[in-house]
């Protein structure tokens, strides 16, 4: 009985954050199938440790576990030397079919104004960042987390979150500028 209550309160607290969990895992490993595995694994782990969770906001707690699972997956992939993913081998995220159909909400009027920037370019630019910068960008810009929450997810102090975000944004602007320059002959 107690178990059932625990199970239902676990689902009530964590399942609303399933999209956030998947989005973070996807951006860290950049594959639908792997992100699915990672999120399942993370939920099982979260459930095992659920009695240790005392807070009310499960999102940062859950995302921290998802992040751990994703990093574990990344380091396993690096360790198995004979498996090299295509985008690592060619150094470019541009040839990733998995990223082609990112679901998104309806664009705001402002985003439509800025629609000149190709979504594909933006995604490639984010993908080019190394994971520790990519995750703060995703958590801040897409998930809208406060710095304090990002700090709980990544385990980095708030000052570090701030400087990683500043650097991630700087690199992103540079990459976007470069890509748009390359793209100009076609775009105009």
């Amino acid at each position: 009985m107690e178990r059932m209550e625990q199970r239902s309160s676990f689902e009530r607290l964590t399942l609303p954050h399933l999209d956030a969990a998947f989005n973070l895992a996807f951006w860290l490993v950049r594959s639908d199938a792997d992100a699915e595995d990672i999120v399942q694994d993370a939920y099982v782990r979260a459930f095992r440790g659920f009695h240790g969770f005392a807070g009310t906001d499960a999102r940062p707690w859950l995302l921290a576990i998802v992040r751990n699972a994703a990093y574990r997956w990344l380091s396993n992939r690096r360790r198995s030397a004979n498996v090299v993913s295509l985008d690592e081998a060619f150094g470019g995220p541009g040839n990733e079919p998995a990223e082609a159909q990112i679901v998104s909400e309806d664009p705001t009027p402002e985003a439509q104004l800025l629609g000149a920037v190709d979504r594909g370019l933006v995604r490639s630019a984010i993908a080019e960042l190394s994971p520790i910068f990519r995750e703060v960008i995703v958590l801040r810009e897409i998930e809208g987390l406060a710095y304090r929450e990002i700090s709980r997810v990544t385990g980095a102090p708030i000052g570090t979150v701030m400087s990683r975000l500043a650097r991630g944004r700087r690199e992103l602007r540079k990459a976007l500028g470069r890509m748009m320059d390359q793209d100009k002959p076609h775009a105009v």
């Binding site: 998947f22 440790g49 576990i65 679901v103 998104s104 810009e141 710095y147 990544t154 701030m162 975000l165």
Partner: protein, 252 residues
């Protein structure tokens, strides 16, 4: 405020994450500096563009996949069939009570007699785990001298949040953490260094909540110090002398 400093802070300023003084000085600087005004605009635009990508939403089936994984998890843990059980007659009940008393007394006696053996066994297990960790290439799975990357690593791996402190300044630099298996359970281990000595600190959740004062023991030339604090049992083991282990305990 200098441009260099302002550039670092503009992002946090836009995110409304800056406190009083910083916020005011970034605001006044941006107003007076054309370069920084343009930078602020760029940051805002880039943010909008990224936010416009939206989330990559989870596939619809993922929630039900997770539910069935959790079902399987539940079955593993509660794997005893529930048999309907009828109340036996009073004679049987008395016999059962008597048998239970005998059983209890045997268990208590056995418990008293063997508890010292068990404590011995645990010490031996911990020393063995310590030595095994030193035989391997590395005693750690997550390397860091930064407590902030070791602590979250344990989230979801052990059923408590360990107290992780980097004690470099006190002469015990944190090397990292790992998982181990002691006393039939998965335990967290923090690895500290003292000069050339490695200290393994094993940790697991205590059943009882009260703290226990540190106790020193010696085994195979190793010193072991055990204590309980805030519901977590700690066992520190090393070839350091007992006094230095006590110092580490007082810092943790």
């Amino acid at each position: 405020m200098q441009c260099d400093r302002a550039r670092e802070l503009i992002g946090a300023y836009i995110d409304a994450e800056l406190g009083g003084d910083d916020r005011a000085s970034v605001a006044s600087h941006v107003e007076s500096c054309a370069v920084c005004t343009r930078l602020a605009g760029d940051i805002r635009r880039t943010s909008t563009v990224i936010a416009g990508l939206g989330r990559k939403n989870a596939p619809v089936v993922l929630a039900s996949k997770i539910r069935s994984r959790l079902d399987a998890e539940g079955r593993e843990q509660v794997d005893r069939p529930r048999m309907p059980w009828r109340m036996p007659s009073s004679v049987w009940r008395q016999a059962a009570a008597l048998a239970a008393c005998c059983m209890l007394s045997v268990l208590v006696t056995w418990g008293v007699v063997t508890s010292s053996d068990r404590a011995d066994g645990l010490q031996q297990e911990i020393v063995t785990a310590h030595i095994r960790s030193l035989l391997q290439d590395s005693p750690i799975q997550v390397a860091s001298s930064d407590a902030h990357s070791v602590k979250p690593w344990f989230a979801g791996r052990v059923d408590f949040a360990p107290e992780v402190k980097d004690l470099t300044a006190e002469g015990f630099p944190l090397v990292g953490g790992r998982l181990d298996y002691v006393d039939h359970r998965r335990v967290g281990v923090l690895v500290y260094r003292r000069r050339l000595h490695i200290v393994n600190v094993f940790m697991w959740r205590a059943r009882a909540a009260e703290d226990a004062a540190p106790m020193l023991a010696k085994r195979n030339g190793h010193n072991l110090l055990s204590w309980t604090k805030d519901g977590v049992i700690y066992w520190a083991v090393s070839d350091l002398d007992g006094g230095e282990l006590k110092r580490l305990q007082s810092l943790l």
